[in-house]
Amino acid sequence: MAELSNAPAPSPETLVDIYRRMIRIERNDDAIRKTIRLGRLTMPYYSARGQEVIPSTVSAFLNNDDTICTIYRGIHDMVAKDMPLRPLWAEIAGRVDGTCKGKGGPMHLTHPETGVMVTTGIVGSSMPIANGLAWAALLDGSKRVTVAYFGDGASNIGAFHESLNLASVWKLPVIFVCQNNGFAEHTRYENGTGVDFISKRAAGYGMPGYTVDGNDPWAMYAAVHEAVARARDGEGPTLLECKTFRFMGHVFGDDDKYMTKEEKAEAIAKDPLPAFRARLIAEGHATEEQLAKMQADIEAEVEDAQEFGLASEFPSVDELRRDVFAEEIPA
């Protein structure tokens, strides 16, 4: 684990922007879970409630043409990247106005306009593909960066290793962001992972690796700042291990019996959202009214998206013959 160099402090605007992304993630997640509970959406849903700080801080450094590859537990990453919510909702409802015409669903949302290039349900597979996007940026001579999101459990699969090594040898502008929520499905970190900090693996690829408090926007800011600067400056990849917790279990409906009530309660007590909000106000970066207004706007956006998504049509069965190849498969 390397020590972080000195990084500039985030500006008030940036802090508020990070908060905006966080609350947008949280309000959207809340609405999705309510809608599932009401039986108006059926899908496997992997809530990232509790992990908002990570992609919100990362996204504050990204431009629209910077790209991300994320995972089944990745709707927060997309929302943080400012993916529009209407096609998001239509997609998770399996409707034709969805980002993927309803064909991909919540585990395969794709929205190139906002840089959401791949969402995958296969553990570890965001990383090898992210390398390719980063390589394309290099070949283009651009300064674009690519972020690969993945979980702590994913750091034990072969694709992680091959990806970090290739990125290092080729000096790719890619950032490997591990959202370490302490569990891989029902398996506790230490029962699947042979090392105390995933960031220690970075040394095995000759790249810097940092373990960061993934619930602390300031700590995240410093780490992402360095990683993005390295990538844009042609210095190659960085591994960020961001420690966090998922409040809702692995998948919607999970009974959490593999964790103790206490540890869960303790984690939820440290919910970064209200704490960050309070601090923004206390430090004078935003006012109560501003943040209330922001939240109301976001709630309206979410509600509109939900209505839009659920009102959209289902795709025609002809879609089974489309997009398999560029040319339609004959009936």
């Binding site: 496997p44 409707r95 296969i122």
Partner: protein, 328 residues
């Protein structure tokens, strides 16, 4: 004959317990399978680690290559490993271990190495898990020399076939499919191992033979009442073991009825049904009353949207329609 009503997952659980009880060399592992991790995400292994100990029932990291590698090595070391690959699509990350090693070591070693492993894996459309979680890949494994492919369709069959896979001296892939999982059925208390490579006649008939297995067999069964009503006498054959398959049983039934439909959930194109169709045609050339027909998934990844997923799956109605087509 007394028995217990249970679903397929409970049957898997019971069979694993039985196998572990009978043979101390049987070990069970995979992601989340131990009770500390909740006994498996579907509960198929619940209670086993508590009962047989944490040494014999182990949760693993998310490392499918390491899981199958450990299974192979433990088998070479004298054990009978039952490894779980949570979903069949994830066998692709371990495909080298399965294809180049597990299936080939006996041959490449001139018979010195045996690899009596069982790979349990779940798949199947119907749960809106979309493109990367629901493929039926039995055709790939059937095309692989050296591994047996088993695909049961009801609780008693799950129980009996899993016991046989575990006892078998060669690698077996045991496919648990969504459409079969939660239909309860009676498992006799003394349910014996069901021999691999032997088909089962689910219903006798004289007009048309349907050959199917796994979830698609359930949907074929659901088509039977309508076909009976239409006055068509259907012989429904559950292949059970896709490879090596029971050629004798299929050909006997086909010779009797003269009309054959093969139905599976896997993609139709270059799918496992083609082998059966090609063989029936070759062996019964000139003796059939109608062309052999095949039903399977369209040439498409599994879609998310419900109406698309419904259309992707071969419904009982389409089975019935195809059978009627054969009689026309």
């Amino acid at each position: 004959m007394s028995g217990k009503k249970m679903n397929a997952l409970q049957a898997v659980n019971a069979a694993l317990a039985k196998a572990m009880e009978q043979d101390p060399k049987v070990i069970v592992f995979g992601e989340d399978v131990a009770d500390r991790e909740g006994g498996g995400v579907t509960g198929a292994t619940a209670g086993l680690s508590t009962r047989f100990g944490d040494d014999r029932v182990k949760s693993t990291p998310i490392s499918e290559q390491a899981i199958i590698g450990a299974a192979i090595g433990a088998a070479l070391g004298g054990y009978k490993p039952v490894a779980e690959i949570m979903l069949m699509n994830f066998t692709t990350v371990a495909m080298d271990m399965i294809f180049n090693h597990a299936a080939k070591l006996r041959f490449m070693s001139g018979g010195q190495s045996q690899v009596p492993i069982t790979i349990r894996t779940l798949t199947g459309a119907g749960w809106q898990t979309a493109g990367q979680h629901a493929d039926h890949l039995e055709g790939w494994f059937a095309h692989t020399a050296g591994i047996k492919v088993v695909a049961p369709s009801n609780p008693a069959e799950y129980y009996g076939l899993l016991l046989s896979c575990i006892q078998d001296p060669d690698p077996c892939i045991f496919i648990e499919s969504a459409g079969t999982l939660f239909i309860p059925g009676e498992v006799p208390d003394d349910q014996a191992p069901i021999p691999l490579g032997k088909a089962r006649v689910v219903q006798e008939g004289t007009d048309v033979t349907i050959v199917s297995w796994s979830s698609q067999l359930v949907r074929c069964q659901q088509a039977l009442p309508a076909l009976a009503e239409a006055g068509i006498s259907v012989e429904l054959v559950d292949l059970r073991t896709v490879s090596p398959w029971d050629k004798e049983a299929v050909l006997a039934s086909a010779a009797k009825t003269g009309r054959v439909l093969i139905a599976h959930e896997a993609v139709r194109s270059f799918g496992p049904g083609a082998e059966i169709a090609a063989t029936v045609n070759e062996e019964l050339y000139g003796k059939l009353k109608a062309p052999v027909r095949r039903l399977g998934a369209p040439y498409s990844p599994v879609p998310f949207s419900k109406p698309l997923e419904d259309a992707y799956i071969v419904s009982p109605e389409r089975v019935a329609e195809a059978v009627k087509g054969l009689m026309a």
